[in-house]
Assembly symmetry: C2
């Protein structure tokens, strides 16, 4: 059975379990998740027993080439066509996700008898299937290799932007379809800004270099950060690097099925705090990675998530000394029964 | 005055005009539009007389470097902090845009006394200021030049993906920060699929080549499509190409301040229909281009928009002969008082 058919079965089971009649899927990413077809102006209606795709006429031929297990309905007015189909089917409990519809659109669905219900698709997306893991692994390994290729090319006088451009090109040459977010290349004091925007700044001798990047392979994202010192590291950099590295390794080491996401955050944070730099670790420890670069679960002090087998998350503590330099080390890891596998290698 | 201060003044005038006390700006793109700072987990509150940015602590240093005309408020809980500030200010009519908030979040704002009000920011974004036009022009000219560079490199045996990768690299070498959407490179019968996904398909002799692409410069997008025949064009291709070219030129020629967007669509569509291919022009004629690749106004049969001086839109009719080939020709144009300027040149 194709992964898409499997997922439709999965959500149909969930619908039955929750006593619901069906769900509408309205974002291109989640339409892809259930059909392999990534498209806007399209809605999937998945009921307990059926699946329909509401498509603009111009997409029909294309859709048919890719998908043979979903009934196609074309429309003049998308919303009206969906509502009219639901009425014909006489279903009472068709849901939409209030976190993926805008307020205007949500009001329309409510007015037309649909119900709001949160997180059903999210609960499927958070656990990665074999084929997803394959794509994630590939995206991660491309990124890790890219660091090995780019590192010796980073020399005095090169600009942050040049480095970012070359990295993106390398990743795509290895088969990535693109970058998974705007690459962060930060030299010197720029590395102390966790969300620095890659600039025309040129590298000087004896400066920190921070690269936070990732690519997309088969629509799945990778996320990795590497920091190093160009030239002869000063003792402060060496000290900070070691603390972050220890914190990151401890986080990865403890990640496994059943542990609280916030406990991984605590392990990293406690180590950095014990060394006296707690106030300089100004962000959460990690996030899920999948079709989106940031998705559930989040690994931070407030998270209620439990890590489960099949999740892919980042572990990325950092210390940022404003005006001087910052160090962040990040891997994307796969959670399994008794530990975690680093994918960005 | 900086463009951002100007825009804040613009929206404050709009607020007063509509009898409103303020607006919250919650998407990274629109936060950028008003501050030059592109960031998530951030909200701007623009009242009739004040501007506040609610920022995670980790962004404060960075924000201060870029923006000096907005008061910074850090938060533990973003939503609560915003609501509490509004209460302190004793404003009654603070609005959110129901098209940019998700349903869940919209309900929260409504529960806490905010009102929904559509399209205020959109009405500013649709008319481009001088500095925006400069970026749009640059993005468009990079794309047009890229076509000149890539065309002679497109030869038998090259894959669609290789072409897309090279084009992206060329655009970035010329200063673009990236592509404005997934480039469509379509060979042969693939060109008949308006939303074809660039594949590993290799070019053969005597085939149509369709390139639909664009880049981002200074956060502004460009959009251009070029179609040509690799080898000796057959009479059918030559005929179809001419029809599309005439339709596109007629559309551009009539675009000017004051004309209905749907009239431009009608001009293109009528020409194609008169030639007997109306049923093969399966999409709208164009869309606005700016911070987003697709934004208002839309040029299609149902549009109620009037083209105004300062808008940038695409004109992109096409004819798609499924199983054979498709032709689309697209330019991004700037609407002025007495006509339109083609930017993708």
């Amino acid at each position: 059975m194709s992964i898409y058919k499997e997922r439709i079965k999965d959500i149909q089971s969930l619908l039955k379990e929750k006593g619901l009649d069906g769900i509408i899927i309205t974002t291109p990413l989640e339409i892809f998740f259930f059909s392999g077809f990534h498209q806007d102006r399209t809605i999937l209606l998945i009921t307990k027993n059926e699946v329909f795709a509401f498509l603009p006429k111009m997409f029909v031929d294309h859709f048919k080439e890719k998908v043979d297990f979903i009934e196609i309905i074309t429309y003049d007015n998308l919303n009206e066509e969906v509502v009219s189909k639901i009425e014909k089917l006489k279903y009472k409990k068709i849901i939409f996700d209030p976190e993926t519809e805008n307020y205007e659109q949500g009001k329309y669905w409510i007015k037309n008898g649909l119900k709001e219900f949160k997180g059903l698709v999210k609960s499927l997306r958070i656990i990665k299937k074999e084929q997803e893991l394959k794509n994630l692994k590939k995206a991660c390994s491309i990124s890790a290799k890219t660091f090995e290729i780019i590192k010796p090319k980073i020399k005095e006088g090169i600009s942050e932007r040049q480095v970012a451009l070359e990295m993106e090109y390398i990743m795509q040459k290895m088969g990535a379809s693109g970058k998974s977010f705007e690459l962060i290349v930060a030299f010197g004091a720029n590395s102390a800004l966790p969300h620095h925007e890659t600039s025309e700044r040129k590298l000087k001798k004896n400066e920190a270099v921070l690269l936070d990047f990732g690519c997309i392979y088969g629509r799945y994202c990778s996320d990795i950060t590497r920091t190093f010192f160009y030239g002869k590291p000063n003792p402060e950099f060496t000290k900070i690097y070691k603390i972050v590295e220890e914190a990151q390794k401890a986080g990865v080491k403890h990640a496994r099925d059943g542990i609280l996401a916030k406990d991984i955050d605590k392990i990293c944070r406690d180590h950095i705090s014990e060394k006296g730099y707690g106030q300089y670790f100004t962000h959460g420890t990690g996030h899920g990675v999948g079709l989106q670069i940031h998705e559930e679960p989040y690994l931070n002090t407030k998270s209620n998530s439990i890590l489960k087998k099949g999740m892919t998350v980042t572990v990325e503590p950092g210390i940022y000394l404003y005006g001087k330099f910052g160090v962040r080390i990040e891997d994307t890891i796969y959670i399994s029964k008794n530990g975690a596998e680093v994918l960005t290698k």
